[in-house]
C-alpha cells in the first residue's frame, strides 16, 4: 500500500467530508482548476463541481466573511488561505465577528474552517513563512489545531469540519511532502480536537511541542538517548485551543523537567502560555525551571543561513535538554 503524504492526507480528509456531507464546500484563491498554490485541493473541483470548490478574488476578508455567512445558513465552509500569513487580513473579521457570533447572537453557530500553509524552513522569507498561532490563541471562541503527522492531518481536518465552532487549521508547509505514512484504508480517521498525542515515551525529561517541531524533538530525543543515555518524552499537542492540560500535567508529573519548543517566535508565544499553565497546575512537580526553545524575535529572514539560525534546530533542543538534565 502506498504511503500517504501529509498533503495528500489533508486532501483525503477534505474529499471524505465533502463526499459524506453535501453542506461542506471549499473556497479560496486558485483552489479550483489550479488546485491551490500547493495543490492541496487538486482534483476536487473536477469531482465536486464549481459550486462546491469556489475560486475567490484575492481578498481574505471576503473569503472569511462569505464563509461565516454560509456557516450561519447551515453550510460547512472550508476556507483556504494561500499562505496563512495573509489570514491577518481577515483578523478583524475572525476575532470580532466569527469568534464572537455564538456569544452575541443567541448561540448562532459558525461551523467553519480556515486552513492554510504556515511555518518556515522552505526559504519563503517573511511574508510566506509565518507561524500565526499566538495571534489567535488569545481569542476565545476560536479553536486552533496544528497537525504534525499525516494521520492527524487527515483526522484533524475531518474533526474540524464536523466541529460546530470555527476552527483554524494550521498546516505546516515544510511537512507537505516530507512526511508520509501508511494510513489504514477503510478506517475513518477522526482525531479529537483538544487531545494531545504522546509521540515518544520517556522518563528523564519532556519536550512539549507541536507541528513541525515534533520531528526535531524526536530527532533530539534519539540523539540524547544515543549520546547521553537520556530518556526523553515528546508530547505533540496537536490542538492549541483548547489545550490538553491533562496531558501536559501528566508528562510534567512523570519527568519533572520540561522543555517547550515551537517554531514561532518566543515573546508572547505559546510556550509562555504552557509555562504558565504548568505553574498553575503542577508547580510542585517541577525539578527544574521550564525552558523554551523558540525562534528568535525577528521576522524570518530569507537567506538560508539566516533562516536556519533564527529557527530553532535540533541542536538547540539537544543543548537545552542537556542543560535541563544536568540541572
Amino acid at each position: 500500500m502506498a504511503e500517504t503524504t501529509y498533503l495528500e492526507a489533508i486532501r483525503q480528509g477534505l474529499f471524505e467530508e465533502m463526499a459524506r456531507d453535501e453542506r461542506v464546500f471549499l473556497l479560496g484563491e486558485d483552489i479550483g482548476a489550479f488546485g491551490g498554490a500547493f495543490k492541496v485541493t487538486e482534483g476536487l473541483q473536477a469531482r465536486f463541481g464549481e459550486d462546491r470548490v469556489i475560486d475567490t478574488p484575492i481578498a481574505e476578508v471576503a473569503i472569511v466573511g462569505a464563509a461565516a455567512g454560509a456557516a450561519h445558513m447551515g453550510f460547512r465552509p472550508v476556507c483556504e488561505m494561500q499562505f496563512i500569513d495573509f489570514m491577518s487580513n481577515a483578523y478583524s473579521f475572525l476575532t470580532n465577528y466569527v469568534a464572537t457570533a455564538r456569544y452575541r447572537a443567541g448561540g448562532l453557530a459558525t461551523p467553519m474552517v480556515v486552513r492554510g500553509p504556515s511555518g518556515g524552513g522552505v526559504r519563503g522569507g517573511p511574508f510566506h513563512s509565518q507561524n500565526v498561532e499566538a495571534a489567535y490563541l488569545h481569542t476565545p471562541g476560536l479553536k486552533i489545531v496544528c497537525p504534525a503527522t499525516a494521520r492527524d492531518a487527515k483526522g484533524l481536518i475531518k474533526s474540524a469540519i464536523r466541529d460546530d465552532d470555527p476552527v483554524l487549521y494550521l498546516e505546516h508547509k515544510y511537512l507537505y511532502r516530507r512526511i508520509k505514512e501508511h494510513l489504514p484504508e477503510g478506517e475513518e480517521i477522526l482525531t479529537p480536537i483538544g487531545r494531545a498525542r504522546l509521540a515518544r515515551e520517556g522518563k528523564d525529561l519532556s519536550i512539549i511541542t507541536y507541528s513541525a517541531m515534533v520531528f526535531k524533538a524526536l530527532e533530539a530525543a534519539e540523539q540524547l538517548e544515543r549520546e547521553d543515555g537520556l530518556s526523553v518524552e515528546v508530547l505533540d499537542l496537536r490542538s492549541l485551543l483548547p489545550m490538553d492540560d491533562a496531558a501536559i500535567v501528566a508528562t510534567v508529573k512523570k519527568t519533572s523537567r520540561v522543555l517547550i519548543a515551537h517554531e514561532d517566535t518566543r515573546t508572547g508565544g505559546v510556550a509562555g502560555e504552557i509555562t504558565a499553565r504548568i505553574n498553575d497546575l503542577c508547580f510542585e512537580w517541577l525539578d527544574a525551571p521550564v525552558r523554551r526553545v523558540c525562534a528568535h524575535d525577528v521576522p524570518l529572514p530569507f537567506a538560508p543561513t539566516l533562516e536556519d539560525y533564527v529557527l530553532p534546530q535540533t541542536a538547540d533542543l539537544v543543548k537545552a535538554a542537556r542543560w535541563l538534565a544536568a540541572y
Binding site: S256, R266, T267, F283, E284, W285, L286, D287, A288, V293, H296, D297, V298, Y309, D316, K319, A320, W323, A326, Y327
Partner: protein, 447 residues
C-alpha cells in the same frame, strides 16, 4: 585601586541570560586585554568572553554552572599595576565564609598547598548571610521540597548531583531507595528532620573562616561524622533543650547486681548498672508518654512502641542501636540486648533496621567517670537520659528514730535532656522521680 567590572554580555537581542560554563582564568591570574577569561553558553551560542581591560582577575562573582541575567557583574579586574604588585587579595575576600552544606567534595586540602588563595570551594553564589530558605531554594526545586516534606527528609543530608550541588529528584529517589547508610549515627537512626520548624526564615549565622596552619592535619569528614554533625546542629535548632538532673542511690541495685552477677554470667550475660537503668526507664515510659514522643509539625506523636536507643561510642564515631519493645523484655533480656547490640556495633555487624525507630535514648558518659553529661536530643525523640558515673559517696542517713548519721552509699546522677516544646519541667521531673523510686526500690523478683 582601579577595579573594573566584567559583565555577562548580551549575545543576541532576545537573549536575557547566560550560563557561565567555564572559567578560563583563576583569581590572581594576570589577563591581557581581549584575552578570553570565561566561557558562556546561551540558547544559541557558546562563546568565550574577553577581558575588557588588562590587569589581574581580582574577583570571581559567578561560579561555573550558574545562569545569570545579562549585564550581571561576573568578575572584577584590577587594572592598577601598583595594586597588582601589592600582596594578593586576601583569601577571605573571595572564599565564601560558609562551606556549602552538601557540596560534592569538601574543600579538603590534605596537603598544605602553597598560599595561593584558589581553594574557593565550589560554592554557588553563597552570599554568606543567605537565609535557610534561600539555601533550600538554591539547592532544591519545588518537587524536591515536596518530596522532602512527604518523607520527612533533611535535604542538607542528601548529597546533590545537580548544578552547584543541587539536590535533584533522582538524588532523593536514590536516597529513599538505598535508605540510611548501613552504619549510621543517630542522624539516620531517626527519620530526619521533623519538617515543622522550617516555617519562617531561619537566619543561619555563618561559621568562622578556618585556615589550616602549617603542620596541621586536615581530615575530611567521614560520612558518619558529617551525618552526626548535621544531626546535632539540626537538633539544637529545632528543639528547646532543657535538662534536669537527679541523684540516685544505687546501693540496692548494687547489692542485687552483686548477688546475681555470677548467675547472669553463667547465662552468658554481663549484668551492668545500665541494664537496671534501662529496665527502670522501659517500665516507666508508659506512664509518661510525652517522654516517648516526637514532634510532627504542630502535633505531638505519642509512640505506641517503647524502643530504647542505647548510645555506643565507637573509635570512628557514635551510633545508637535500638532495643525494640524494650518494655516487653526482662532484666536479663535487656542486659543481653545491650551487650549484643554494643558488641555488634563495634564490629560493624548491625543491621540497618537495628538503628531505626528509637523512641527514647540512653547515653552513658559515666562509663568514663563523668559526673553528669547533658546530651543533645536524638531527633525526633523528645527526651534522652544520660547516666553519670556510679560510685560510693558519703551520704546523710536518717535513722528511724529521726537521728542523722553519715554513711557510705553507692550513688550517681541521671540527667534528662528534654524538648521543652512538648515536655514541661514537671513532666520531666515526675519521670525522674519515678525512675529513682524504681531503682532505689528495685524489685528483687524483677531480677
Amino acid at each position: 585601586m582601579a577595579k573594573i567590572d566584567v559583565i555577562m554580555p548580551q549575545m543576541g537581542e532576545s537573549i536575557t541570560e547566560g550560563t557561565l560554563s567555564k572559567w578560563l582564568k583563576k583569581v590572581g591570574d594576570p589577563v591581557k586585554r581581549d584575552e578570553p577569561i570565561f566561557e558562556i553558553s546561551t540558547d544559541k551560542v557558546d562563546a568565550e568572553i574577553p577581558a575588557p581591560m588588562a590587569g589581574v582577575l581580582a574577583e570571581v562573582l559567578v561560579q561555573e554552572g550558574q545562569t545569570v541575567a545579562v549585564q550581571t557583574v561576573v568578575a572584577r579586574i584590577e587594572t592598577d599595576a601598583a595594586a597588582v604588585s601589592a600582596p594578593a587579595p586576601t583569601p577571605a575576600a573571595i572564599v565564601p565564609p560558609v562551606p556549602p552544606p552538601a557540596a560534592p567534595a569538601p574543600p579538603a586540602r590534605v596537603e598544605p598547598v602553597p598560599a595561593l588563595p584558589l581553594v574557593a570551594p565550589p560554592a554557588p553564589a553563597a552570599a554568606g548571610d543567605e537565609s535557610l530558605e534561600d539555601r533550600l531554594r538554591r539547592k532544591s526545586s519545588p518537587l524536591v521540597r515536596k518530596m522532602a516534606a512527604e518523607h520527612q527528609l533533611d535535604l542538607s543530608a542528601i548529597p546533590g548531583s545537580g548544578l552547584a550541588g543541587r539536590v535533584t529528584k533522582g538524588d532523593v529517589l536514590s536516597y529513599l531507595e538505598k535508605g540510611p547508610p548501613p552504619v549510621a549515627p543517630p542522624a539516620a537512626a531517626a527519620p530526619m528532620v521533623p519538617a515543622s520548624p522550617v516555617a519562617g526564615a531561619v537566619h543561619l549565622i555563618p561559621g568562622p573562616v578556618v585556615e589550616p596552619w602549617e603542620g596541621d592535619r586536615v581530615e575530611p569528614w567521614s560520612r558518619i561524622r558529617k551525618l552526626t554533625a548535621d544531626h546535632m546542629i539540626m537538633s539544637r535548632r529545632v528543639s528547646a533543650h532543657v535538662q534536669s538532673v537527679i541523684e540516685i542511690d544505687y546501693t540496692r541495685v548494687g547489692q542485687l547486681r552483686a548477688a546475681k552477677k555470677a548467675d547472669y554470667a553463667g547465662r552468658g550475660v554481663n549484668l551492668t548498672y545500665l541494664a537496671f537503668i534501662a529496665k527502670a526507664v522501659a517500665d516507666n515510659l508508659r506512664k509518661h508518654p510525652v517522654l516517648n514522643a516526637a514532634v510532627m509539625g504542630e502535633s505531638t506523636v505519642f509512640r505506641r512502641e517503647i524502643n530504647l536507643g542505647v548510645a555506643v561510642a565507637l573509635d570512628w564515631g557514635l551510633i545508637v542501636p535500638v532495643i525494640r519493645h524494650a518494655d516487653e523484655l526482662s532484666l536479663l533480656g535487656l542486659a543481653r540486648a545491650i551487650s549484643d547490640l554494643a558488641e555488634r556495633a563495634r564490629t560493624k555487624r548491625l543491621n540497618p533496621d537495628e538503628i531505626q525507630r528509637g523512641t527514647f535514648s540512653i547515653t552513658n558518659p559515666g562509663g568514663f567517670g563523668t559526673f553528669i553529661g547533658l546530651p543533645v536530643l536524638n531527633q525526633p525523640q523528645s527526651a534522652i537520659l544520660a547516666v553519670g558515673t556510679i560510685e560510693k559517696r558519703p551520704a546523710v542517713i536518717t535513722a528511724p528514730d529521726g537521728t542523722d548519721a553519715l554513711g557510705i552509699r553507692t550513688k550517681g546522677m541521671l540527667a534528662l535532656s528534654f524538648d521543652h516544646r512538648i515536655v514541661d519541667g514537671a513532666d520531666a521531673d515526675r519521670f525522674l522521680a519515678d525512675l529513682r523510686k524504681s531503682l532505689e526500690g528495685f524489685a528483687e523478683n524483677a531480677t
